[in-house]
């Protein structure tokens, strides 16, 4: 019913009216965010090692994209969204570093990487056989561990290119660097991952 109303509004006016344009924009953004949100969450989660924090970062990125870049062409949304998200992940790490320094100052043990419970944050079975789920979960744990060992820029380049499927130009926009840098970071990341994962077995 809503679709018919929008089509009617467009055809009557010749050019899309303001209301119809807003409706169309709303639909396009909804579709874009729905397509990207789950991969974005997993990428952020690998970056910060905490699902709740990753959810917050993804929500912030969504809001900032809608607020600041909804008027941009659809093709620009993906790199812009990931640029916002990657900035959020970097800020998160800066805040963590400051928090850890403060905790050390007050004599408390800072949170360590080993505290992250990979099993506890592993995804639900989603209807698969337990042995298959276990195998996939173990493979993902190995992959996540290997990706986390990469330097930050290599990790970003690898996740944006491989996990999100951005091309070199889009990855360069998302990372705020040149295409040449993306190629270098990505190549080094894949090389390092191959060595680590083949050494320990995928």
């Amino acid at each position: 019913m809503e679709v018919n109303t929008a089509v009617f509004a467009v055809s009557c006016a010749g050019a899309p009216s303001t209301g119809a344009r807003a409706l169309q924009k709303d639909r396009q953004l909804n579709q874009f965010l729905a397509e990207i949100e789950r991969r974005a969450l997993r990428i952020a989660e690998i970056g910060v090692r905490d699902r709740d924090d990753a959810l917050d970062l993804v929500q912030d990125a969504m809001i900032k994209l809608v607020r600041n870049y909804s008027d941009r062409a659809k093709e620009e949304w993906t790199p812009l969204f990931y640029r916002i998200l990657q900035n959020g992940v970097r800020d998160w790490h800066r805040r963590q570093a400051v928090r850890n320094r403060v905790m050390v100052w007050f004599g408390r043990k800072p949170s360590e990487d080993d505290d992250y419970d990979v099993v506890a944050s592993a995804p639900d079975p989603a209807g698969r056989a337990p042995d298959e789920e276990l195998q996939n979960s173990e493979a993902m744990q190995s992959l996540e561990a290997a990706v986390r060992q990469l330097p930050a820029r290599q990790r970003e380049a690898f996740m944006l290119r491989t996990f999100e499927g951005l091309n070199v130009a889009g990855t360069a926009v998302a990372m705020g660097c040149s295409e040449g840098s993306v190629k270098t970071h990505y190549s080094r990341a894949v090389h390092a991952l191959r060595e680590r994962l083949e050494e320990h077995g995928p």
Partner: protein
């Protein structure tokens, strides 16, 4: 080499995609809520003042520049720097006499302030 390279990346991508597909219902629900909260931003009117901020900043910068150019002495006074004109008055011949009668001039100043003179 390239085929081997591609096969390796494809395998990693598949592993990642499986972890995405296996996200639990509670997480998907949170993502859904986040998306709708973000889309609600479209309905919110943009703050008008933010649109004028660059122009306001430019006007303020121009005003400050004009003030500095028009009255450099004001800046010197604020900084506590004695201007050349003040130095000339102090070092003039008449000023030597004034310095000799400094107590007298101080008394006149005080008396004027109290309204006894004139």
């Amino acid at each position: 080499m390239n085929e081997q390279h591609d096969a390796f990346e494809k395998q990693l991508k598949e592993t990642f995609d499986e972890s995405v597909d296996a996200l639990d219902g509670a997480t998907l629900s949170k993502l859904n809520r986040s998306r709708h909260q973000a889309l609600a931003e479209l309905q919110r009117p943009r703050r008008q003042w933010s649109r004028w901020m660059p122009a306001t900043g430019a006007v303020a910068a121009i005003l400050v520049a004009v003030v500095i150019v028009q009255s450099p002495s004001a800046i010197n006074d604020v900084a506590g720097i004695t201007t050349v004109t003040d130095m000339e008055i102090l070092l003039g011949e008449d000023s030597i006499e004034m310095l000799e009668d400094l107590e007298f001039y101080s008394w006149i100043d005080a008396a004027e302030a109290e309204g006894d003179v004139g």
